[in-house]
C-alpha cells in the first residue's frame, strides 16, 4: 500500500492514480479532516460557481427567498423592476440578518437591530437618526453586499465569490447539454420549482453525497427493497444480460469537464415524462401518450426518445445534483463540519403541466427520492455507515475506487470512472496538482 509520505518538493496528493496498475485510491483524510474542510471552503466553495436558486421561485417582482448557500445566508430576490438579484443577508451596519422570513414579497428589508432599511434591489433606503452623522456622510456604498458574481443559465442562478472566475456558461461547459435535455421536457422550454422543500442533514462528509448521487454500482445492494417495490408494482426488473452490467439496462458515465459529470442510462424505471409503467395506473396511459406525441412533434423521434427513454444523474461541481430519473430533483448540499452535511432538495416540472401530470410527477418522486422515499433513506444510512467506519482512517487509510479503471472507450455508469473524475478535479483544486 502506498503511504502519504512524499518528497519535500512534491505537493501532497489525496489520490493515488496509477493507470499502469489500474489502481485508484483516495486518502480518507479527505473525508474526515476539519483542516481539509477549511481548505475546501477557501479553494472550492470560494472559487467555484455555487447554485443559489431557480428563477421560478421568484414569480413576481418583490418576491424573495432567504436561504443558506454553501453556508452563507443570502437573499435571492426579484427586485421591483424584475431583475433577479442575490445579496448577503447581512446588515452593513452591525452584521445582523436583515431577512428572517423563509420567503415572501416585500419592497424593503429592514434590520431589527437599529432599523437600517434596504430596498429590494439591495440599495440602502434609510438610516434612522441620520442627522447624527457628519454632513455629507457618504451612504452610497452602504447597500447590501452581493457575491462577487451572480449569473444564470436558463434560469438556474449561481453565485461565485471569486471575481476572477470564468463566466458561468464557460464554467458549466458541456454540462449545459444535459441541463437542456432536462428542460426539453417542457413544451415552452420553461421548468419551475414546485412547492415543498426537503431539507435534511446527513451525518457524513459532503463529498460522499457527490459520489452517491452518481454511483449506480450501489443500486442492487443498497436499494434492493426499492427494486422489490418496483417489481411488486409491475415493473420488470430483469437481471442484466451483458457482462459488466449491474442494472437491467445499459448505462454510461461521461466526464463533462471542469469536474462535472453525469450518468446517462437507458431507462427501466418509468419516467413521468412519457415512459409509462404500471405504477402510474391505467388511467395515466392516455395522457402520457399525448405527452409523448408532443415530444415527438416538437423534437423529432430521436430526441424525444432521448428525453423520455433515458435518465441521468448530473453533478455540477462541486455541490449541485440534478437527478432526472424517477422524477426531476434539484439537490444541493453543503458541509456543516467535516462529518456532517445539510441537504436541500426540490422537485422541478414543466410550467404548463396538467394537474394530473403534476400529481404523477410528485408521486413518482416519492417512490425513490427524499427522506420518506423508498430509496434515499438507505442512501443516507450507507453514507452514515461510511462516515462511522472512517473513524479508523488513520490506520486504514485508503478508499478503493479502481472499478472499471483501464476500460477502453465508453465508460459504464456502474464503474467508478465518474467518481475518479470528481476526485481528480477536487484534488487539483486542493493541491494544485495536474488533473
Amino acid at each position: 500500500m502506498p503511504t502519504m509520505e512524499t518528497s519535500r518538493n512534491e505537493p501532497r496528493s489525496f489520490v493515488v492514480d496509477d493507470p499502469q496498475k489500474g489502481v485508484f485510491l483516495l486518502d480518507r483524510e479527505a473525508l474526515v479532516s476539519e483542516d481539509v474542510l477549511r481548505a475546501e471552503i477557501k479553494n472550492i466553495f470560494a472559487k467555484c460557481w455555487i447554485y443559489v436558486g431557480h428563477g421560478s421561485e421568484l414569480k413576481k417582482n418583490g418576491d424573495f427567498q432567504s436561504r443558506r448557500v454553501a453556508g452563507r445566508p443570502v437573499i435571492f430576490a426579484r427586485d421591483s423592476k424584475g431583475q433577479v438579484r442575490c445579496f448577503f443577508n447581512t446588515c452593513r451596519h452591525r452584521g445582523a440578518l436583515v431577512c428572517t422570513e423563509r420567503h415572501g414579497n416585500v419592497r424593503r428589508f429592514s434590520c431589527v437591530y437599529h432599523g437600517w432599511i434596504y430596498n429590494n434591489d439591495g440599495s440602502l433606503a434609510r438610516i434612522p437618526g441620520d442627522e447624527a452623522y457628519i454632513e455629507n456622510f457618504d451612504t452610497s456604498g452602504l447597500g447590501l453586499k452581493s457575491p462577487a458574481r451572480f449569473e444564470q443559465y436558463r434560469d438556474f442562478w449561481f453565485m461565485c465569490l471569486d471575481a476572477d472566475a470564468p463566466a458561468l456558461t464557460d464554467y458549466l461547459g458541456k454540462a449545459t447539454d444535459y441541463i437542456d435535455l432536462v428542460i426539453e421536457q417542457s413544451p415552452s422550454g420553461k421548468m419551475e420549482v414546485l412547492h415543498g422543500t426537503q431539507e435534511y442533514d446527513v451525518q457524513a462528509n459532503w463529498k460522499l453525497m457527490v459520489e452517491n448521487s452518481v454511483d449506480d454500482y450501489h443500486l442492487p445492494t443498497t436499494h434492493s427493497t426499492w427494486l422489490n417495490f418496483m417489481a411488486n408494482s409491475g415493473v420488470k426488473v430483469e437481471p442484466p444480460k451483458d457482462k459488466d452490467l449491474v442494472l437491467p439496462t445499459r448505462g454510461f458515465a461521461f466526464d463533462l469537464g471542469n469536474g462535472h459529470f453525469t450518468t446517462d442510462n437507458v431507462n427501466f424505471r418509468g419516467r413521468p415524462v412519457a415512459a409509462w409503467i404500471p405504477l402510474y395506473g391505467e388511467s395515466a396511459k392516455a395522457e402520457m401518450t399525448e405527452i409523448r406525441a408532443e415530444l415527438v412533434e416538437r423534437l423529432g423521434e430521436d430526441r424525444a426518445r432521448r428525453v423520455a427513454d433515458t435518465n441521468r444523474n448530473l453533478v455540477i461541481f462541486p455541490n449541485l445534483v440534478i437527478n432526472d430519473g424517477s422524477s426531476v430533483t434539484i439537490r444541493t448540499f453543503f458541509p456543516d463540519g467535516a462529518n456532517k452535511m445539510q441537504v436541500t432538495a426540490w422537485a422541478l416540472g414543466p410550467v404548463e403541466e396538467s394537474e394530473s401530470a403534476r400529481a404523477r410527477r410528485l408521486d413518482a418522486f416519492l417512490t425513490f427520492y427524499g427522506p420518506g422515499g423508498f430509496a434515499t433513506p438507505d442512501d443516507v444510512e450507507a453514507l452514515e455507515l461510511v462516515q462511522q467506519g472512517l473513524a479508523n482512517w488513520s490506520d486504514d487509510r485508503w478508499s478503493e475506487m479502481s472499478r472499471g479503471f483501464g476500460r477502453e472507450g465508453e465508460q459504464l455508469n456502474s464503474d467508478e470512472h465518474h467518481l475518479r473524475t470528481f476526485w481528480r478535479h477536487w484534488n487539483k483544486l486542493m493541491t494544485g496538482a495536474q488533473a
Partner: protein, 170 residues
C-alpha cells in the same frame, strides 16, 4: 367527506375512545407490529407527511415527505420490515408520547381528531431523534371499532434538519 355523511346520523364518540385508539396504535407502531397496525387501516386509507415548509399544501401540487395511498402503505410495510431496508435495520427503537387529544368534528361515521406527539427514535451509536408534531386523523367509526381513513402527520420543526429521514412509520 364520506358519501354517506349526508344520510347517516352522526356517530357518537368520546375523547376517551379516541385516546384509547391512539394509544393502542402507538403501541403497535413502537413494537413494530406493522401487520396488526395495517389491520387498523380502512381500505381507502392514506398516510401523509407534508413538507415542513408547506404544511397546508396539497400533495397533488406540493412535494411531500410521504404521500401514500393504501397500496403504497402496503408496500411501505413490506419495505420497512425487510432486513434490507438499511435505514431501519437494526430497527429503530421508538417511543411515542401522545397528548392534547381533541375530537374536532363528527360527520356521519367520520371522526376528525387531532393529538400532539413526541416520537423519540434511537439508533445504535447515533444521536437521539425527537420528532415533534401533530397527528390529524380522519377515523371511520363502525360500531365500537375505528378504522383509519386518513392519517396526516405535521412536523413542527422548520426543516427536517437533524431528524434526517422518516424511514419508519411516524
Amino acid at each position: 367527506m364520506s358519501a354517506q355523511a349526508d344520510t347517516l346520523a352522526d356517530v357518537k364518540v368520546t375523547r376517551a375512545e379516541v385516546e384509547d385508539f391512539f394509544y393502542h396504535e402507538a403501541a403497535l407502531l413502537d413494537e413494530w407490529k406493522l401487520k396488526e397496525w395495517e389491520a387498523l387501516l380502512a381500505d381507502d386509507a392514506t398516510y401523509y407527511v407534508p413538507p415542513n415548509d408547506d404544511l397546508d399544501g396539497s400533495h397533488k401540487d406540493t412535494l411531500y415527505i410521504i404521500s401514500d395511498d393504501r397500496e403504497r402503505i402496503r408496500q411501505r410495510i413490506i419495505r420497512v420490515l425487510d432486513p434490507n431496508c438499511h435505514a431501519e435495520f437494526p430497527k429503530s427503537r421508538t417511543c411515542r408520547l401522545i397528548t392534547n387529544v381533541r375530537v374536532l368534528k363528527v360527520e356521519g361515521d367520520l371522526v376528525t381528531a387531532t393529538a400532539n406527539f413526541v416520537c423519540y427514535r434511537y439508533r445504535r451509536f447515533q444521536r437521539e431523534f425527537s420528532y415533534v408534531g401533530t397527528y390529524r386523523y380522519i377515523l371511520r367509526k363502525d360500531g365500537d371499532q375505528f378504522r383509519i381513513k386518513e392519517r396526516r402527520v405535521f412536523l413542527h420543526a422548520h426543516e427536517l434538519g437533524r431528524l434526517g429521514s422518516v424511514s419508519f412509520i411516524l
